[in-house]
């Protein structure tokens, strides 16, 4: 059995799932941090409750991001041994820095935030959440640096058949990075914005009593979506000029890339116009009475996720058959592990991740539906973290 297609499928499945969770993590943590900043500066009941409720959803989503991330990190050594042997001296650094500086610190600060609630000075507690946010963005930066290097191996030279680093700074000025990083960050804000908007819309459709709570959340969700969609569309088109420079034939005559690309652009424009209409309807709270619009917003939660997967496919399928563009073929990087073993791991990981992802989404949906009110069963236990 040929291990190559299974190893590729395994990496694609793990990465796609990972991407779905971290995208929401990144968008949601930014919004929760802004909520907590408001609660800390101005005080007041509502911003504080918003931090708790949306923070609870953030924490549930975070769990799957971290576990899928661990499996991705290991896979470089398990199935793509040729990559570390050939480009490890360049590619390894951003990846190592990502795990040390970003992933490691992010989790530690998140633990501090969860368990520091009500125990810590409120300004310090706020600072901890901003550190979580900052390290999450640092994570995105270093991963995109690593990925952009694979797309366009700058700052390095060939020496005795392996790549050596010339200029670490060049990795950050990579044309494959400059437009794609804001594109991904815009997508994260869009995902977070659509999520908060959709959940709030659901509660208005159910005629919630928490009108003030969800009115504030909805406003924030819609405005974040607008900012995210502008960024995503603008940076998305800016990429065409960059890609033409380093992968000139990427979009020529390949249906594998063209179809997801066209769909992504359509979804992007749809998201932009939807956010724009939503923002206009915020005038005098017209949106709260526009039930058909609210009705569309609930399934709309899924839209940015679909676009994100399409975008991921465009970027990754488009560079095949190269793993490191022009230098290392994907087929030459796969490990000498038998196809049977990789099939076993692919099946096992996929089953486990699908079960966990569904469980996580069901949990998210149930917590979201329950709303910000605390159930009585919860108050019987000792002190709970609240998130």
């Amino acid at each position: 059995m040929d291990p190559l297609p299974i190893a590729r499928l395994q990496f694609a499945t793990t990465t796609s799932l990972h991407f779905l969770f971290v995208l929401l993590t990144l968008g949601l943590v930014t919004m929760v941090a802004i909520m907590q900043t408001r609660a800390t500066i101005r005080g007041g009941e509502q911003p504080h409750r918003m931090t708790t409720f949306w923070g609870r959803l953030y924490v549930v989503n975070y769990a799957l991001g971290i576990v899928t991330g661990i499996v991705m990190e290991f896979q470089f050594g398990m199935t793509w041994t040729g990559l570390s042997a050939f480009a490890g001296d360049v590619f390894g650094a951003p990846l190592a820095i990502e795990t040390l500086v970003a992933f490691f610190l992010e989790s530690t600060f998140l633990g501090l935030w969860i368990f520091g609630r009500g125990r810590m000075n409120k300004w310090l507690h706020l600072a901890v959440l901003w550190l979580v946010t900052l390290t999450a963005y640092a994570s995105a930066l270093f991963i995109m640096v690593a990925n952009s290097f694979l797309q366009n191996p700058v700052g390095s030279r060939m020496e005795n058949g392996v790549l050596r680093l010339d200029d670490f700074g060049a990795l950050f000025a990579n044309p494959a990075l400059v437009a794609s990083l804001p594109h991904v960050l815009g997508a994260a804000l869009l995902t977070g914005g659509f999520f908060v908007t959709g959940v709030s819309a659901y509660h208005f459709l159910k005629r919630t009593n928490e009108i003030d709570f969800f009115r504030r959340s909805l406003r924030m969700g819609v405005v974040t979506s607008l900012i995210g969609s502008v960024l995503v569309v603008q940076a998305g088109f800016a990429q065409f000029a960059e890609v033409a420079g380093y992968q000139p034939d990427k979009f020529k005559g390949s249906a594998g890339v063209g179809l997801p690309l066209g769909m992504m652009i359509m979804v992007g424009f749809f998201a932009f116009f939807a956010s724009l209409i939503g923002t206009l309807l915020l005038f005098r709270d017209l949106l709260l009475r526009a039930r058909p619009v609210l009705f569309l917003m609930v399934p709309g939660i899924a839209v940015p996720f679909v676009a994100a997967i399409l975008g991921w496919l465009v970027r990754e399928i488009g560079r095949q058959p190269w793993l490191v563009w022009g230098k290392l073929r994907t087929a030459d990087a796969v490990a000498d592990v038998s196809g049977g073993q990789i099939l076993f791991s692919f099946t096992a990981f996929t089953l486990l991740f699908v079960v966990l992802a569904i469980a996580d989404w069901v949990l998210l949906a149930r917590i979201a539906k329950r709303g910000p009110a605390v159930a009585t069963a919860e108050t019987e236990l000792p002190v709970l973290s609240g998130v």
Partner: protein
């Protein structure tokens, strides 16, 4: 310079086992520590680990990051060479970590499935780590070019199986000693009884693994003997210090770090060797000096911040779980 990075890798892996080991121990023993119907009791047991959980698990992530960044030519050989074991390890880790984080998130949710996933995930993780490290001591089944020999069963050799079982006992003991310090008062008696029953298996594992290892491993260095001696000293401290849990806890954490440290000193400067004669030295495995320096500029401050923050977390949550403790997991 390469030696320093090998030490950093050892520090991160040792830190991981010293900290996360008790997470797995508590996870494996969760059904034995509180009855399945006693939700508040189970929450308090998990709550003992709670404040440290996220911080403990990511030591592994950082260690693998350093392995990839500083020793790119080793990572692929090791993970591909022990492919099935790494897969098992990840399946266990993912199940355990996700289940701990998600179990208690919905107040009316049914938690039996999650509790089972915590226990099973922790068990698979412990066994896989033992099998993996046991194989590293003995030498991975690689061919003469360092490619994985297509022989899955070779990874489940008797010596590695001994390590797999030994790790279960070791992590359970570690979890129990941890609970003696931080666990809720109501389970103190049960924790004491269980601790006594895990002392003997751990002792047997240490003695048998050492003697058997001495016969099957060639060219044992003085440093390796020193690590073994430290391991036995730590075990004796646990054995005779049970009445003083605050002394026994650091000792058992050190004991859990010892197997990884032993592999680290046994596999230096030849970091990978196989019975077929394949050898990879630490210099061949390492990245270029300027790349290592770049990683160092980021790693050093990050590690300092981290150790400070985790130390403060320990200080803040050093008392046993009681009515006023914050529960999350």
């Amino acid at each position: 310079m390469v030696t320093i990075w090998w030490g950093v890798l050892g520090l991160l892996l040792g830190g991981y086992f010293a900290l996360a080991g008790y997470d797995y121990g508590v996870g494996m023993l969760l059904p034995a520590l509180s009855r399945s119907g006693d939700e508040a009791g189970q929450r308090r047991v998990l709550g003992a680990v709670g404040p440290f959980f996220l911080a403990n698990e990511v030591w592994l992530v950082a260690a693998v990051g350093v392995l990839f960044g500083a020793f790119p030519h080793l990572e692929g050989r090791v993970f591909a060479g022990a492919y099935v074991l790494v897969v098992l390890l990840l399946l266990g880790l993912v199940t355990f970590s996700a289940a701990v984080q998600l179990r208690s998130r919905h107040p009316e949710g049914n938690r039996r499935g999650w509790t089972f996933a915590i226990t099973a995930g922790a068990l698979v993780t412990a066994v896989s780590w033992g099998l993996f490290l046991g194989n590293l001591v003995r030498g991975l089944p690689l061919d003469a070019q360092g490619r994985p020999a297509d022989d899955v069963l070779a990874l489940f050799n008797p010596y590695a199986v001994l390590w797999g079982l030994g790790f279960v006992a070791l992590f359970c003991l570690q979890g129990l000693v941890f609970l003696a310090v931080r666990g809720p008062v109501e389970i103190a008696g049960r924790v004491r009884r269980l601790t006594r029953s895990f002392l003997a298996p751990v002792g047997v594992f240490l003695v048998v693994a050492t003697i058997w290892g001495a016969f099957s491993v060639s060219d044992v260095s003085w440093a390796a003997l020193a690590v073994v001696a430290i391991g036995f000293a730590a075990y004796s401290t646990v054995l005779f210090g049970l009445r003083r849990p605050r002394l026994a806890l650091p000792a058992v954490m050190l004991l859990s770090a010892c197997p990884a440290l032993l592999v680290g000193v046994l596999r230096f400067p030849v970091v990978l060797s196989a019975p077929t004669g394949y050898q990879l030295t630490v210099d061949q495995a390492a990245t270029t000096p300027d790349m290592a320096a770049v990683i160092g500029w980021f790693a050093a401050p990050a590690l300092l911040v981290l150790i400070a923050v985790q130390w403060l977390t320990w200080r803040a949550h050093r008392r046993p779980v009681d009515e006023k403790s914050l529960l999350h997991f």
